[in-house]
């Protein structure tokens, strides 16, 4: 069953901006799905429409078979949203924020308290339940938004840049938690600017640019399309001139570092041989960019060219 199905979804704002130009998108039930795109591409508009915060101009939205136009309340009940910006009452206690959210979904106070205890404990916030939300750290606020989104037990969780501004340790613990609830059956749609996050967590991906889906495939398929890897080579001695090695691209980054573009079919071994022939000894190498990041930039750049 499809968790989400969008057909010819369009949104034109009052100022004439065409944010979505007829999007088709399917997300299978149980998937961990990445929706990526540069700022202003249409990600937030899409999420806003799914969550009834933005009114669509035309097109069809179905969530677990429920049509947004015919059964808006069933669609809302199925979705939990973790928005990009902090949007809870800064003067409210943590426990009240979560319990009230359950109440808006019709969950009685006693049951809401039980559920709030469970999600707040899972997200490491139970001890802070009586703290006013504005007194929480940035990472805790993000986790509180996840707890709030989960308290009504949605089937589809939408996370709009959930780890923005969160330190590495908390980010990784959030990843573990998201993996865990996805394995338990929850469908997750994630937008993020940390492409490493999408590559690590998601099985399928769509890239949106200028209001259109420019890529929609399985993550391994997409990554397999990467023909060139980029590495940063650290040399033992500063090179005199950067040599020309046929089939490879080399560029000086600083005194002892080179950026190497290595076609996947050629491999890196021959490059090392060529550099050794020029008395250049490589002492270490690392990826210049996350693999998905390279593809993302390529796809978005090709979109830019089309729209100039």
């Amino acid at each position: 069953m499809q968790a989400l199905s969008l057909r010819n979804l369009r949104k034109t704002y009052k100022n004439g901006l065409q944010a979505l130009k007829g999007i088709d998108l399917d997300v299978a039930s149980g998937d961990f799905f990445a929706l990526l795109g540069p700022n202003g591409a249409g990600k937030s508009t899409t999420i806003g429409i799914l969550c009834s915060l933005v009114t669509k101009t035309s097109g069809q939205v179905r969530v677990f078979g429920h049509d947004l136009d015919r059964n808006p309340h069933e669609v809302r009940r199925a979705i939990g949203l973790v928005p990009q910006e902090i949007n809870f009452n800064q003067f409210e206690k943590v426990i009240n924020i979560v319990v009230n959210q359950a109440g808006y979904y019709g969950i009685g106070r006693r049951r809401a308290l039980d559920r709030a205890e469970r999600v707040l404990t899972e997200l490491g916030l139970w001890e802070r339940r009586n703290t006013t939300s504005r007194q929480l750290s940035g990472g805790m606020k993000r986790r509180l938004m996840i707890a709030r989104a989960l308290v009504h037990e949605p089937r589809l969780l939408i996370l709009d840049e959930p780890t923005a501004g969160v330190d590495i340790e908390i980010r990784r613990s959030m990843w573990d938690y998201l993996r865990q609830i996805n394995q338990a059956g929850m469908t997750i749609i994630l937008t993020t600017h940390y492409l490493e996050e999408a590559e690590n967590l998601c099985r399928n991906i769509a890239i949106i640019n200028h209001g259109q889906i420019v890529e929609h495939s399985a993550m391994p398929e997409l990554l397999a399309r990467l023909h060139v890897n980029q590495f940063i080579l650290e040399l033992r001695h500063p090179p005199g001139e950067v040599p020309e090695v046929p089939g490879y691209g080399l560029e000086r980054l600083d005194e002892r570092s080179l950026l190497a573009r290595v076609p996947t079919d050629r491999g890196i071994h021959r490059l090392f041989d060529a550099l050794a022939a020029h008395d250049m000894e490589v002492v270490s190498l690392r990826n210049a960019a996350n693999r998905l990041e390279q593809l993302f930039v390529d796809l978005v750049d090709s979109g830019k060219t089309k729209h100039v």
Binding site: Y13, T45, G48, C51, S52, L53, V54, T55, P72, H73, E74, R76, R77, I79, L81, P83, E85, N87, F88, N89, Q90, E92, N96, N100, Q101, G103, Y104, Y105, G106, I107, G108, R148, H152
Partner: protein, 254 residues
């Protein structure tokens, strides 16, 4: 059933909010109206004689109580709803399966309850200065309910259109307060010149305050049935307006 729980949640949250910040919500009307009773009612009023065939301090009590109901019902909804918009926690409700009517009802009921609380406190303080009479309690209760609902709705509409905290203080300062003071809280229309009397009749507050006073003292400058018609008509217009704003998501959705 789930709708009832959602409504109770909004109402509980609204009551919790105004009780949590009681020094801003409950205390000021108590202090302000105590001063009104002391200065206008007791010190000045004792030298004025009767107004509308009752002692001056008795005459002004219903108007001051209703003034408190009006400003607090309005103030509660406009501040609470705009604050939810400003902090964007209104989205917590917009993404949930709550019918628009229930969101509106929850906020309005919150405003009515704050009006009831502050109105009761002010009436209690008034009773320290002069014995209170409730000649027509049903009329007083009806006027209270209509007025509190009406101004809660008005506060909601103001909050929907507001884009800054300045926008939520303009109407109370420049529209509401002048209309209340000119609505006959402190005087009978019978002492006004003919022209000003006609102007007073165009002020909806004039009908509310007089009908409320009729409930307490049995005296009024206007026909009470007409007053209920004015209040009912205004209420229906505001109700349709507020519901339309929520349905269209004006000021709330993109």
């Amino acid at each position: 059933m789930y709708k009832l729980v959602a409504f109770q949640t909004i109402l509980y949250r609204e009551i919790y909010r105004f009780m949590r910040i009681w020094p801003q919500t409950v205390l000021p009307p108590a202090i302000t109206t105590s001063l009104y009773f002391l200065i206008f009612g007791h010190l000045i009023g004792s030298r004025l004689g009767d107004m509308g065939s009752v002692r001056y301090i008795e005459y002004i009590v219903p108007g001051i109580v209703l003034m408190s109901v009006i400003t607090n019902s309005y103030g509660n909804v406009v501040a609470s709803f705009y604050s939810s918009k400003f902090q964007r926690n209104i989205e917590e409700m917009l993404i949930a399966p709550i019918p628009n009517g229930l969101i509106l009802a929850g906020y309005v009921m919150g405003g009515v309850l704050r009006g009831l609380l502050t109105g009761s406190i002010v009436a209690g303080i008034g009773s320290l200065f002069t014995p209170l009479h409730l000649i027509h309690p049903d009329i007083a209760a009806g006027v209270f309910l209509l007025t509190a609902t009406l101004f809660s709705l008005a506060g909601f509409i103001n909050a929907v259109y507001a884009n800054s905290f300045d926008d939520i203080s303009i109407v109370p300062n420049f529209v509401l307060n002048p209309l209340v003071y000119l609505g006959g809280v402190f005087y009978s229309a019978s002492i006004l010149p003919e022209t000003w009397r006609a102007v007073a009749l165009a002020n909806p507050m004039f009908y509310m305050i007089n009908a409320f006073r009729y409930g307490f003292l049995g005296v009024s400058d206007v026909d009470v049935q007409l007053a209920f018609l004015v209040m009912g008509g205004t209420l229906i217009v505001l109700l349709i307006w507020a519901w339309y704003l929520l349905k269209k998501g004006i000021g709330l959705k993109a």
